[in-house]
Subunit: 239 residues, 8 copies
Amino acid sequence: MSGVEESLTALLQQLRGTGFTDLGFARVDTDREARQGAPEAIMAEGKTPEEIEAIARVLLDEGAGSVLVTRADADARAALRRAAPEAEEHERARLAWVARSVPESRGLVTIVSGGTGDGPVVHEARVRAQLLGTEVVVHEDAGVAGLHRLAPAVEDLRRADCVIVVAGWDAALASVVGGLVAAPVIGVPASTGYGAAFGGVSALLSMLTSCAAGVAVVNIDDGFGAGTIAARIARAAAS
Amino acid sequence: MSGVEESLTALLQQLRGTGFTDLGFARVDTDREARQGAPEAIMAEGKTPEEIEAIARVLLDEGAGSVLVTRADADARAALRRAAPEAEEHERARLAWVARSVPESRGLVTIVSGGTGDGPVVHEARVRAQLLGTEVVVHEDAGVAGLHRLAPAVEDLRRADCVIVVAGWDAALASVVGGLVAAPVIGVPASTGYGAAFGGVSALLSMLTSCAAGVAVVNIDDGFGAGTIAARIARAAAS
Amino acid sequence: MSGVEESLTALLQQLRGTGFTDLGFARVDTDREARQGAPEAIMAEGKTPEEIEAIARVLLDEGAGSVLVTRADADARAALRRAAPEAEEHERARLAWVARSVPESRGLVTIVSGGTGDGPVVHEARVRAQLLGTEVVVHEDAGVAGLHRLAPAVEDLRRADCVIVVAGWDAALASVVGGLVAAPVIGVPASTGYGAAFGGVSALLSMLTSCAAGVAVVNIDDGFGAGTIAARIARAAAS
Amino acid sequence: MSGVEESLTALLQQLRGTGFTDLGFARVDTDREARQGAPEAIMAEGKTPEEIEAIARVLLDEGAGSVLVTRADADARAALRRAAPEAEEHERARLAWVARSVPESRGLVTIVSGGTGDGPVVHEARVRAQLLGTEVVVHEDAGVAGLHRLAPAVEDLRRADCVIVVAGWDAALASVVGGLVAAPVIGVPASTGYGAAFGGVSALLSMLTSCAAGVAVVNIDDGFGAGTIAARIARAAAS
Amino acid sequence: MSGVEESLTALLQQLRGTGFTDLGFARVDTDREARQGAPEAIMAEGKTPEEIEAIARVLLDEGAGSVLVTRADADARAALRRAAPEAEEHERARLAWVARSVPESRGLVTIVSGGTGDGPVVHEARVRAQLLGTEVVVHEDAGVAGLHRLAPAVEDLRRADCVIVVAGWDAALASVVGGLVAAPVIGVPASTGYGAAFGGVSALLSMLTSCAAGVAVVNIDDGFGAGTIAARIARAAAS
Amino acid sequence: MSGVEESLTALLQQLRGTGFTDLGFARVDTDREARQGAPEAIMAEGKTPEEIEAIARVLLDEGAGSVLVTRADADARAALRRAAPEAEEHERARLAWVARSVPESRGLVTIVSGGTGDGPVVHEARVRAQLLGTEVVVHEDAGVAGLHRLAPAVEDLRRADCVIVVAGWDAALASVVGGLVAAPVIGVPASTGYGAAFGGVSALLSMLTSCAAGVAVVNIDDGFGAGTIAARIARAAAS
Amino acid sequence: MSGVEESLTALLQQLRGTGFTDLGFARVDTDREARQGAPEAIMAEGKTPEEIEAIARVLLDEGAGSVLVTRADADARAALRRAAPEAEEHERARLAWVARSVPESRGLVTIVSGGTGDGPVVHEARVRAQLLGTEVVVHEDAGVAGLHRLAPAVEDLRRADCVIVVAGWDAALASVVGGLVAAPVIGVPASTGYGAAFGGVSALLSMLTSCAAGVAVVNIDDGFGAGTIAARIARAAAS
Amino acid sequence: MSGVEESLTALLQQLRGTGFTDLGFARVDTDREARQGAPEAIMAEGKTPEEIEAIARVLLDEGAGSVLVTRADADARAALRRAAPEAEEHERARLAWVARSVPESRGLVTIVSGGTGDGPVVHEARVRAQLLGTEVVVHEDAGVAGLHRLAPAVEDLRRADCVIVVAGWDAALASVVGGLVAAPVIGVPASTGYGAAFGGVSALLSMLTSCAAGVAVVNIDDGFGAGTIAARIARAAAS
């Protein structure tokens, strides 16, 4: 056995059972909130309601400040309510969550979206960022086909610590906003659109090749990821 | 704040609330008809019937000459009828529309399609162009596997101010028509076909690489977009 | 033999040798200008200089109003000069052309581009449209990352009979322009950009899914095609 | 060892060294002409001139009726001439071949192409089919953007035992020809074209989804494969 | 108007109403059987039962020797039975057909498939080829993972005038068969398989790049197209 | 007929009916277990319950040590129970199997997975490997977003004769594990994930380009294939 | 003209010539540094040395704090030196830059890369971030195939205000780092790797689907974009 | 700081400088041979000759049993010779290596390839496996278009502890071999082929969907990876 191997093995053995709870089908990372400031969330797809309920119970028992279930159908949302009767939900955004101890709010995240159909992604980002302890302002349906509809958002864009742009189709909104603001911009390509929108691929490519520097991108429809990084950026900027 | 920024901010603030109605989930561009000669339309997918009804009401209240709902299932079509009981519909093309004040007809758009299955796209283009104030003639199922079936369309192709070709599969019709006529040709790749038709991608690529110059292309199945640009071209040519 | 077959065969035999000149390696469509108002052009790639010279001679001998050679390297441009010593050229746009009898100018085409690197495509579109008999105004490097750079183009966009937008990267310019003007917009995705720009594919997808209706698209880098259809639209609108 | 395994092993051991010559870097299938009526050919790409020469010598020594080297640059063509000084070549089609004993010609293959740039593929198909013992007639540059240019080909299309269509770009010619003739049609997508032609992919997809039944397709630029199957079809039909 | 245009227009006008019946939503090519030896077939997808019934009636009234409805669900198959009570059907292959006057059988088509799941495509090819007047022999589930399972097919492969290989997954069967037989081979990539089989794309690419020359390919799952061209080849070879 | 052809034909005729049972729709490879040490399995998709039952009966009648039905819905699982009432099943992994004579266990396969949603693939690999006669240890939900969750697996990774990594999303776990262990690693990309996970394609590409050497990959979700090769490796290593 | 149109037109006309310098081929956005805190940079590809020199002169004349030329070959770098003799350069990263007035350094950006070949992208990010006024620490070749090589970076990762991960191949490093740190992580997929690395596409997809939340991604090889957003994040966090 | 974080940080700090040598541009993993039985290799692409030489010197100084440089042009190979004058090389396979202390040979790896053009990949796999201490036997050009050419390989396939199949085009050889042998099969898709071979993608997909179980796949042209895993498998099986 090599020296590196010995050291790694020693460490990993020392970590056995530390910082997570083993449910067999899941190893719940109960240390994540302490380590990274954001508790592990539960993506409901591919999990049974029973598994969701069990994971949620572990997180809450271990003292999670909040628990968020994403991509959650009615059964998945009910599963969280069984674990925590005070849970809230957002049906269209397929979310359920319980907030037991959210950090004091710090920083501002402004979310703008291209169209009404982007709503579910917008709200996933909003709830995640709020649970991590930031203020969030939302401006929906401000796509560039009518630039004047962006007007009411300008002030909130200017004062944001981080901006999230949610847009499907050609996602041109990301470049327009990216050219206006000095704050970091997180783009979320949305799967809205048909035909050559290819389920969000066109929006993704568009955002990745935005002619405005200062834009970084997360996965298609990944409001959760956008909310996470935006909250980190905004909270740090405001502290 | 830079000079450009100041000017842009000033303008955008001045535009706050101008030219659109804010429903929260939607900012309805009530200025579009005045600005571009074509009222905003409502794509039903991703919107609830309640949202569709509310948007339609705003457009009609603000004096839209017509309202068109595309990709509309039965619920979405019913939503428009609630807002405007005189609304018409085309079930197979998933359309509902109300025409209160259509511009006087000007110019001719001729639509040819490759096969019977392209019908929904054909009729979306037709209704849109008619609502914008053009005459439309339709020739369906004139694909090149039997060139003689194109014969009855020749006269209408020759006299058109703009031609729309709707075709799935290999969309060879676009090149054949593009080589015959002197008018601008708008190609609409249709999602008809299976296997390597890839939901309209093959038709799209085929139309984009048409060996006939003078062909421009819209999104897969986008009868709405084709009808919009064709009507603009035809009306201008005939004025 | 079926009746249709007999008729088609009769026609096609009657057309033998009509309207084109057969060079063996090429059948030069000398009828195209009469039939469609635009002479056949010569794409140099894949042809030897000798072939280009021969085709150009045929077109000129048969009375073409102009001859345009696209995607032409130095040898290809020299080939045209051998056929027509008065030929002009644009090195960066890889063009050579000779204009013997251009139609009287009618209508206005305004071309805007996203960046300096789109220049070759811009000029291919410009020359083609001019040879077909339209006035062309060009505004380069007006991308949306600095919206104020679009300002000088606004008047020319408003008064255009047809607008061409040339843009690579995310091609967001197409949607912004498409939302401002009432004239038909022809988008030309450019191969400028690296990485996820994928040689113009992202720009193509972006333009096809533009959230502004009234935009149609041609092939990547196809200034020639855009110039052709734009000139047709503009001339018809201005007549 | 299972029974099947034993039998297979017995056979394969019995075949050791039968029907091929082992050069180490290549096992030349000297049996193929007897087995399938068409001698093995040599694709030059990825082989050194020395390897090409050695393979050609083996084939000729073993009595091949002909040897064809495809995708051959000048060095590769010279390699064949070293093995067989009477070898012929076609530079643009990157071919070299020697014909020692070509079967008596039987059947007719008609080749039509969409444009001048498809020439190399046309001639690869032609030479291969001729070496296998068929008559071949060629009509180049008959693309559908000017249908009348197809007229001189009609008679040869009607009387062909098999038709080969070579076309790049949108390859619409395949559907037009496929709708006219009763003979089998073999489509060869060519890599001619730029932008969304994607090196022949658009032509490939177009031919695969041809709206005319009776069309089958070979690999992009695969004149060799098309010549092989077309000659088989034509010879059988004419016997 | 140019000379070519005049001639084309004259012809096309002369063809008005010739050789097809116009149903509005469809122009039924009643001339196809006379022209190409194979009657037009009806692809059910994208057509209503009423449309299918109407098209079938036209074809039968105009004397079609047979009518084949492909990709037909129960309603589509019932539609044919309304038009022709003697219609037969194959549920798994989603076919319905009526054979009133099939040409005398000529030639042999041998079909081999890679696996049981390819059955629907196999039978679509078989029925089509039989309706066009050929004998068909079928060997299913002969994939190369157990080469001995190909043994019973060898004799029928040797004596075939044309071979059809239907295979999903990696479609290796096409190359193995293509290396054994001297007859033309038509490959049909099947959509069987999961994951990286990509709905038949892997099989398609594999067949297109088969290392055996003499293989041509049709669309994914296109038993109809394979049956059409195979019957043409086999009938010609046997006459 | 060539010598090779004669020999091959002789062999294949000699194999007629040897080593498989012909059910018409299927040729069951009853020789496979003797030839390759692993009995043929039944992929349920694309087969009717009747076909599954019949194939299972043949395999069992011919003495298969075990029969495994993969991708099996409730009907398919019931079909196996009809053929073998003692059959076991795993609903979520869509498996049913009967083990009549499993080889004595030899070697150890350790399976680690990235997340709970990968469970079905994990268990398909586990059952297959167990039926082939290996010990299997499973560690689920050990993804790299929390490296400490990998700790409990370290000892089982070290002592494994072969490691299987099942992971969706970015499949980073494959590289991390591949960098730790000296045993061969088989990666199974899972279709878990949304958006740019593209149904397992991202995981597939990630595993194929793993920066750790010593990783080989099977098809997306192909627990069966991974279990097969891993068992072969582990059994050989332990013998 | 609509009200919105009037207002927009008024504004845009008022902006004519404001905030940029028009060179004909380029409209240099001299306002960007004031507006967004980062001066416009010059991507050399697609621009002639003369154009680069001219743009650089404008930027410097208008008071840019720094000028950076990216993707610059030797000629492009020389062009900058002509405009500013004090310019520095990094040959392998294809950079040239001149720093006249860089903001006081604030915040820390830590860059880690997967391999030596990622160097050019690393240094593009580093220089850009430094020019925007941040401290940058670099750890190269810390890929996960040997996790211990990441050890020296841990401290710098912990204290960073923003982390940049540059990685090609499978880019697993992004997830490992993303799971360790609480700071925002910007991933830059690099085009290093061959085969299924697909020029950075696999790394891009891997980063987009990272199982660690808190990672956002820029274009392939876009060190410039990463440096821009990272500097914004780090400066805000440290202020 | 969380408990997990503390532990991980402690470990990683303890590992600082352990098991690798930091050259700034590279952290050479000198522990890998001890940890995984295979020394780190040097992929030359993207590295300067000076970097290659320096890395090689470190590896040799630290006692590496062998050093292998892959994808090495003449300069890269010369760099290794400077570090170790006894270095050997294989020009066509772009390899250079020095073997100071290769493990005693154990186990047999049999490599078969589809065609002559696959040679470079074959030899990369061969040299790597030999340097790790296995016997290797090679059979080139045994593609399935002439199955009898596989005959001489049968005995070596049967007695192999692991089989490597290198094939481009449709890679059908993988399934044929995979159906014959009981040993694990590692497929290496090669980039040989043109058109729809797509640089090895078709071969890759074909191997991933091989109808023979027991095949796992490495990256396109990755002889190095195949040699690594095959040697591990073979050595373990033979011990």
